[in-house]
Structure formats: C-alpha cells, structure tokens
C-alpha cells in the first residue's frame, strides 16, 4: 500500500473510558491541503492532537514523512502547529516567540535570525518583532503564531481552528494568507475547522467528521455535489440543502411533499430501488420560472431574504414541504407570490430514509 506523507492506520483514542475515535484510517498526500471539518465534539481536534503527538493513541499507527512516529515526541515528528488561542508566550517578544524553540534545540544564532527574518517577511510582521503579544491585535497574533510554526522548517503543518477567534473580515483575509503560504511552501497541511467556508475554500480534500468517524473524504466539489450521506449533505453548504421526505417509486420517480420528481438522469450509487427516501436539493440548484422542466410545480413564496448578490426565497410546495431556492439579488418575487420551480434530477441527492446513506 502506498503511504501518504501523513498516514493514520487504525487509530483508536480513549479519554479515560470514553471512546473518542476507533479504527480510523486517513492518508494525506505530500503537499496536500487536507481539512478536517465537523461540528464541535466530532473528534477532529483530538485527531489532530494525536497526529501532533499531544495525545497518546490507544491503538494504531501514525506515519509522517515515511516514518512511524507513533511513539515519537511532538518535536521529533517533523510537524509544526498553530492553535486557536494563538498560544503565544505572553512574556516574550514576537521575536522571542518565534526563536525560542530553535534556541532550545541549539540552532546557531545566525540561522535563527535568518529564519525569523524570512518568516516575518513572508507574513509581513517584520515591524512587530520587538513587540509583546499583548500589544498586538488578534490578526497580528495569529500571524505571529503561524510565523512560529514556519521557522521550524518542517514538512507538515497542523492548524487547530486557527481563525475561530477572529472576526469575519480578518478571517477572510488570513484565509487567503494561509492559502498563499500553502502554495508558496508546498508543505503538507492538515487544518481543523468547523467552518465549511474555510474548508471549501482552502482544502484540496475535505474529511467531514461526525461522531468520531470520517463520513466522507473527498474534494470540496465532490463533497458539495455528491454528499455521501445526509449528515454531510446537511453540514456542508450555505444556505443549507433542502430535504423533503417521501418515497422512490420503481426507481424512477420521487414522490413526496405533494411532488412527483422524475429521476431520469440521477446517478444512483447502486441499483435504483424503491422505498422510503429523502430528497435533497441545494437552493441554487432549484430551477425556476420558465426554465423549469419535468416535474415542474407552483410553489408559494413565504419569505424573501435578500443577501446582496442573491436572494434566498423560502417556499412551500403544493404538498406543504418547505424548501428554499436561490434567486438573483434583484428578483421581484415577494411573499405570497407563486413561483414555478422544478428539481433537475442531475443535481439531486437521494438518501436512504433509514440509514441516511446516499442512494
């Protein structure tokens, strides 16, 4: 078996007697940007800490850069890490923060200075080197924290929700920064977040986690378009995907919410079956007005949420199922209006009603 740059085999992690992760496998390719995405408590941070060596695994192996590092100390694993709270050493200057680890490991002073300078330039914090963390803004602090990781000159970077403590604007700004860094360095990065926008924008691949299990590991596009189960479908995407409960009849028609949606053109994962199912469709995939095709119906508009470029329009199907659709920002639709709509089969996701798996 080909091993990735970071490879986890059969990881099991316990907190006392509570099982957090079990039998988890994950391979991250060299220079890949992998995002661990999931709600809080899903085990993503725990997993990252295990990769860093900050938490002992109960079972399984961790390989980094072709070495089995399961029993190695964090410093020997060839990783660097950036934390949500920045974790800067408050009584040291920025320079001190960035150089302390190197100093302790006995790196020559000239080399330390060079690396600090380089990292500071890359992150545009050269002016701040003699300040203390308490004198910096949140965004500056996180840059310093990233700088402290950069000077380690390692192949693998771990980010533990690094942007969660920042406000929206800074978050967007630093997101770009990190993306740029990734391209510049060509390093492997594992990035934990609960923010799907970050995941979709940054990742080469996303691992969506829930309940200690990787629900789906795929490219952002695939995760967005073909969620493997109902959890992934509902967690990824904003505004959220619409779900309508019903049944599939003869593998050809979805019947629910007073609608009959033809399924010709839907790529079933297995053999088309019949039975109870949930139909999922993203608001932007709803076809409206004169573009509506097979299975078109008239929906009643209940609420319009203008969001600038788009408007999110909340409707109700003839059978009473609520769903939203995305219309251009300048739409004239108002609540109480009737809106023609159809669900094109190619954009649908169908899930088994019992186990939530994609059909």
């Amino acid at each position: 078996m080909e091993r990735g740059d970071v490879s986890l085999n059969g990881i099991k992690i316990m907190f006392g007697s509570v099982k957090v992760l079990e039998n988890l496998d994950l391979d991250v390719a060299k220079s890949e940007f992998l995002v661990l995405l999931g709600p809080s408590g899903c085990g993503k941070s725990t997993l990252l800490n295990a990769v860093a060596g900050l938490i002992d695994v109960k079972d399984g192996q961790i390989w980094i850069g072709g070495r089995n590092v399961t029993w190695e100390e964090p410093k020997d694993r060839g990783i660097a890490m950036v934390f949500q709270s920045y974790a800067l050493y408050p009584r040291m200057t920025v320079r001190g923060n960035m150089s302390f680890g190197l100093k302790v490991s006995g790196t020559p002073a000239a080399e330390i200075a060079r690396r600090v300078e380089e990292a500071a330039q890359m992150l545009r914090i050269s002016d701040l080197l003699d300040r203390r963390p308490s004198e910096l803004s949140g965004g500056q602090r996180q840059r310093v924290a990233i700088g402290r990781a950069l000077v380690r000159k390692v192949g693998v970077f771990l980010f533990d929700e690094p942007l969660s403590n920042l406000d929206a604007q800074l978050r967007a700004e630093l997101r770009v920064e990190i993306k740029r860094l990734h391209q510049q360095l060509g390093a492997t990065m594992i990035y934990v977040t609960h923010d799907q926008i970050e995941a979709l924008t940054l990742a080469d691949r996303i691992a969506v986690m829930h309940g200690g299990v990787i629900q789906q590991l795929d490219t952002p596009a695939k995760i967005y378009r073909e969620p493997k189960n109902r959890f992934v479908a509902s967690f990824v995407g904003s505004p959220a995907m619409n779900f309508i409960d019903g049944r599939i009849e003869a593998g050809a028609t979805f019947d629910g919410g007073g609608l009959r949606v033809p399924l010709a053109g839907y790529a079933f994962a297995g053999n088309p079956a019949s039975g109870p199912a949930t139909l999922g469709i993203r608001p932007e995939h709803v076809v409206t007005g004169s573009d509506a095709r097979e299975g078109a119906f008239d929906a009643t508009v209940e609420l319009v949420e203008p969001m600038g470029a788009d408007s999110l329009v909340w409707c109700r199907s003839p059978g009473g199922a609520a769903f939203s659709m995305r219309l251009p920002g300048d739409t004239a639709v108002r609540s109480g209006d009737r809106q023609r709509a159809s669900f094109p089969a190619a954009s649908l996701s169908l899930f088994d009603s019992t186990n939530g798996k994609r059909l």
Binding site: P74, M81, F83, A87, L88, Y89, M92, F100, G101, A145
Partner: protein, 298 residues
C-alpha cells in the same frame, strides 16, 4: 434598564459595589489606625487615656533592646520565610500539577498545616526540634552519636527553626494559589511548547512561571503580611526565646497591649510597623499604578 444608558448605570453600579469596602476602610480601618496613632502619643497604659506626651513612647521604643532585636529578627525571618514559602509552594504546585493519581491526597497533606491552630502544632515542632527528645535524639539512637540538631535552643539559630515551621505552615496556601494560577494557564501554551520541543522544566522556567506574576504578587503580599503580623508561631514554639533571639515585632505589640498593659508603647510599636510598611509599599504601589495607567492608555 430601559430609558437609562447602560454605560451610566454600570459605572454607577461599580461605584456602588465599592461602597461596603469604602465604608469598612474609612470607618474601621482608617478610624482604628488614626486612633492607634493618637494613642501612641499618649501615656496610655492598660486603658487609653488622653494624656499627651509627644514622642516619648517612640523614644522609649528606640531605646528598647527587645524592640530592636525584634526588628532584626523579623528582617531575617521575613526574607527567608517569604522566599522559602514561595519556592516550596511553587515546587509543590508544579509537582502536584503533573496529573498525579494521588493529587487530592497530596494537596490535603500540604494544606493541613494551615488548618491547625499554632498553639499545639507549635508544641509538636518544639518537641521534634528539642535536642533532648526530638530528632537529634532519634538520629543519635540510630548510631550517629555525633549528630547535632539543636538549633531551637541556640540563640544564633533559633530563628531558622521558626522559618522551617513557618514554611511548613504557609507553603500549602502558596501551593493552592500557584495551582490556581497554573490551572488558569491556557492548555494550548503547553501544547505549543511541546511542539516547539521545549523541555518541561524549561517551559516552566521561561514561559509558565513568568505568567504567574499575579499569583506571585498575591502570595507574596499574603506572606509578607503574615510575616509582619507573625505572633502565634513565635509564642507557641519558642515564646520569643532563648533570650530575645526569636522575638518579633507583633509579639512585642501584643505583649505590651495585653499582658504588660502598656497601650501607649504598643501603639507606638504598631505605628512604627505601619510607617515602615507604608514607606516600603507606597513607592511600589505608586510605580505599579503608573505602569497600569500607561498600559491602559495604550
């Protein structure tokens, strides 16, 4: 509250919250302190009188061997006891913070001395340190005939035995304060230092201990205050002896206040202690206050 700007009511609330403290400070503390200063200028004996005698009590005080010796003793005891307790307390806190299974038990062991009245624990110390039936006798009984541990009966060394017992008594509290400080430190700091490859001891020395400034200040002031007010320990362990070798200022105040019925002299002694404390503390507090103002301005 509708109709009121929140800012104003909160400010007012903050002022209101200080009212009890302010009342206590003005009525009880400042009132009593001014009274003490006034009494130190009178010839009061067991009960206060208003017979003004100027600085006579202070003159007596400065010619009093015991007072002078007490002040010296306090300087030695205070320095060793504060530094020692901070050090021992910090080490205990760090040791106990290593996720030990017996943490709760150990914490109680280190704290229990603080729970007991010195009247009798002082006696236990006195017995242990007494050369004729304490540790010295025990060790000699093991065959080390020349073993000598008679500090408590020698004038030059008795003060160090008070330091022992003082540390024994106070280190647990320092440990609790330091532990509270340690537990307040962000776990991610630890993770970051581990990833950085900084050894645990180095993390403590260079990163964590510098972050415990507030804990040090708290413990330091509490210890200093207890040092200046040190009384029970000296009474129970050595009663100030041998000779005057373990006399301390607070004991001087207490003895003259009650047993010796010399309120004027006791008040003069207390006032002198107060003046000393203020002259040491005021510049520190002033500097701190300025530093704080400077920081908030930025």
């Amino acid at each position: 509250m509708p109709g009121f700007p929140r800012r104003l009511t909160s400010r007012a609330a903050a002022g209101l919250a200080l009212l009890p403290a302010l009342t206590i400070l003005l009525v009880a503390h400042l009132g009593s302190t001014s009274w003490t200063i006034w009494i130190s200028l009178t010839s009061s004996r067991m009960l206060p009188n208003s017979n003004f005698v100027g600085l006579r009590q202070y003159e007596t005080l400065l010619n009093n061997d015991r007072w002078l010796v007490s002040a010296q003793n306090l300087a030695v005891f205070g320095t060793l006891m504060v530094v020692g307790s901070l050090l021992v307390g910090l080490l205990l806190a760090i040791a106990i913070d290593q996720r030990l299974r017996v943490e709760n038990t150990l914490r109680s062991i280190f704290l229990y001395p603080f729970s007991m009245s010195f009247v009798v624990t002082g006696l236990a110390w006195q017995w242990m340190l007494n050369p004729t039936h304490g540790i010295q006798k025990l060790v000699r009984g093991w065959g080390f005939e020349t073993f000598q541990f008679d500090w408590i009966v020698r004038q030059e060394t008795v003060i160090y035995t008070l330091v022992f017992a003082g540390i024994w008594h106070a280190a647990g509290l320092v440990m609790a304060i330091m532990l509270a400080g340690l537990r307040g430190i962000d776990e991610e700091i630890w993770k970051a230092s581990r990833v950085d490859g900084i050894p645990a001891w180095r993390t403590y020395v260079s990163i964590v201990i510098p972050m415990l400034g507030a804990s040090f200040a708290t413990a330091g002031i509490l210890l200093s205050a207890s040092v200046v007010r040190l009384y029970d320990l000296a009474v129970a362990m050595t009663n100030g002896g041998p000779g005057l070798a373990s006399e301390v200022p607070a004991k001087f105040v207490m003895d003259h206040l009650f047993e010796r019925g010399n309120l004027g002299l006791a008040a003069a002694a207390a006032t002198s202690m107060l003046v000393t404390v203020v002259s040491i503390a005021a510049p520190l507090l002033y500097a701190r206050s300025r530093a704080r103002t400077a920081e908030t301005r930025r």
